[in-house]
Subunit: 419 residues, 2 copies
């Protein structure tokens, strides 16, 4: 390779344009496409975290019971379904909740001083926006420049109850509000904010769900900017009461966030004319989607697709191709979108194996295409004005199911996919 200049800083938000300029379009699903560089290798560096926390360019996303602060004024301006904005606040706002310098003293000291009685509001270091002007400059082995982002749990409880209540009241006084999305599922903010919120929500939720060690039953603590939980060897509040724990020897996956791989698949029949769709009991009338389910341990995604389709619909799938993926932070899923084709001997729908679905059926491409045009919406919402009652209803473009159906209707199967 010829000698080259060092790479420019990886302005991740520039990649999109580079990609489409040179390599053609990649399907980037909702909740992906974050503008932040996570600089995960700096998460253990408390000198960095401490500077990042207090820098004037730093943004804080506060969440109350996992619901993010929303800029209502911005949201009301947007006539689109997806166009709301998160509202970020500054260090002066959150100081009373998180303290002047929670990262003082380094991670090792924090672990040594661990006290299970002390409630520490959860903070997540989300990354830096390298496009921002006047960001923090931090020299590690390389120089990193950008505006830091943190998430903070401001749910009023334990030792910070009053500070959180005061902050929330103050924010409401400024005309701000926490999202009240149906079912707690925020799906109406713009794509870059959605990706930032997904990271915040997934990590806040994982920390909240795992206060105890699954290996020994003792309380654990959050480290690495919220990306790791460890089982500390000592507890100031119970000096003689920590048993030895296997997670302290070597590396244990129990210390790291959990992400559950999920398969979601558009299955076409062998003639490539019909799409397999299914519906759950709790969905509105006429509403269908692609089949989906959790991958199990020790199966490939391709096998998981065939197993799930067989279990839920009786259909036997042959070839499987992975199309794209979507992070899904409700609570911790990675949706792996695939396109599969049924084998001719296995096209008969049979709901008798696992009675999970209310119905599954083959739908002609034309009908899917028409519904993608007039019949999509979020689950709690009305379809568009052109929708006629009784017609097929489908999920919105923010759902990977919609992207998979669109790909099939655009000739994915039988066509050729250029790299």
């Amino acid at each position: 390779m010829p000698e080259q200049p060092a790479n420019p800083t990886p302005a991740h938000n520039d990649l999109d344009s580079m990609l489409s300029r040179k390599f053609g379009k990649e399907v980037a699903n909702y909740f992906s496409g974050s503008p932040l560089n996570r600089v995960g290798f700096l998460r253990e560096d408390h000198k960095f975290l401490s500077q990042a926390l207090q820098h004037p360019s730093t943004s804080f996303l506060v969440c109350n019971e996992l619901q993010p602060l929303i800029d209502k004024a911005e949201k009301d301006k947007s006539p689109k379904k997806v166009g709301g904005h998160l509202k970020f606040i500054g260090f002066d706002d959150v100081k009373a909740v998180v303290g002047e310098d929670p990262y003082a003293g380094g991670e090792k000291t924090m672990v040594e001083q661990y006290d299970s009685r002390r409630y520490i509001p959860q903070m997540i270091f989300l990354g830096i926006d390298e496009k921002a002007k006047d960001g923090l400059e931090y020299q590690s082995k390389n120089l990193y420049k950008g505006a830091p982002y943190f998430a903070v749990d401001v749910t009023p409880k334990e030792g910070v109850k009053e500070a959180c209540e005061k902050l929330i009241k103050d924010l409401e006084g400024r005309g701000l509000a926490f999202s009240q999305a149906p079912g707690g599922r925020v799906m109406d903010i713009d794509a870059q904010h959605a990706a930032i919120y997904a990271e915040a929500r997934a990590l806040l939720d994982w920390n909240a769900r795992n206060p105890f060690c699954a290996a020994c039953g003792q309380p654990t603590m959050s480290v690495n900017g919220g990306f790791k939980r460890i089982c500390p060897p000592k507890d100031s509040s119970r000096p003689d009461d920590r048993p030895s724990c296997v997670t302290r020897k070597g590396i244990s996956n129990l210390c790291f966030p959990r992400t559950d791989p999920t398969v979601i698949m558009a299955v076409v029949n062998s003639a490539n004319t019909h799409l397999l769709l299914g519906r759950q009991r709790r969905w509105p009338p006429h509403w269908y989607s692609t089949l989906a389910g959790f991958a199990e341990p020790a199966e490939s995604i391709e096998e998981a697709v065939r197993r799930e389709v067989y279990e839920e619909s009786g259909i036997l799938v042959g070839r499987v191709v992975i199309h794209s993926t979507q992070p899904w932070p409700y609570p911790a899923n990675l949706m792996i979108g695939a396109i599969g084709q049924a084998i001719p001997e296995g096209e008969k729908v049979d709901l008798g194996n696992d009675p999970e679905l209310d119905d599954a059926k083959w739908v002609p491409f034309e009908e899917v295409r028409e519904s993608l045009r007039v019949g999509t919406s979020g689950l709690g919402e009305d379809a568009g004005p052109e929708y006629k009652e009784g017609g097929l209803r489908l999920p919105p473009s923010t759902a990977i199911a919609n992207q998979l159906m669109t790909a099939v209707c655009n000739g994915f199967v039988g066509g050729s996919a250029k790299m």
Copy 2:
């Protein structure tokens, strides 16, 4: 759709031939391609599990400290590196360890009678082999026919120490032995047995790692044929001592096995002439492989590929396409294999961000191609007879890294992938 006869029973082991006959070849990586139908919807059905356990066609894979019983005679017959066989035993052999009918009474009764003091050796219901003759016939909503497979943990400990020791001695007397694979990583058995072992190992290990509830710290119990752990509301041994637990309300992912999505990627340069390879410090001299790392919460696989490559090598990747996936039961990974292409502005190797790798470099396709021919082997093994000292060494064909490099050398990038 025209009316069709019901689908044939999904003899999963026939799919391979159907696939290649009609849809072209799909890359099936080592540890995938199980011959078993997991019939997961029958895992809660103790009437089924009880019959399956005691049926004459049933096979038991016993593991001691996660190492499977191996048929040494069969293994010695095979001159190939991958050709060993698991040795399955019958119910009469394991009865003294697991008891006459551990599934008697149903799951609800088992939960009601939960006693945290009582050690129950872990059993996993793996599935049924529908190709086997004289298998169990079981009528649920549909009729299922096949030879059942179970895994049993026979590690000598707690209340079954003596029974396990006796069984192990007995098996050794028959010339059988537990695998002594280097690092405990079984990689030398034939592909179908490898897939069965992967399922057994992943589930035995997950149960063993999670004896306590991460939400409340209390001991948990294994249900659903080993595929679920719940936090029971009562404990016979401590009648007043179970706090309420959030995992008992609705569905909690903490109850289900954990699978960690991992990205592994063959990255080519923008001219499509060189492949990016890296090496870890602990690897033998001249040994390289593709880069890899864990996916983080709330990022797409495509984003995880770009982040990991940037962190480990400084290279900036544009377009990413997912190639195939591989279950990896050490301990619970799902390897998602991708192929990516660097952008022209980001081809300079820089190990300074995250000093995880000993080296990373661009290697011409011809050199990779030659090494795939003469320089592959398992990590603890010698390369083939044609290998010349100093030449590039690469992982064996059982590793997805090898399959990704092979795909790139065979023209994946720039070519077209037919569905």
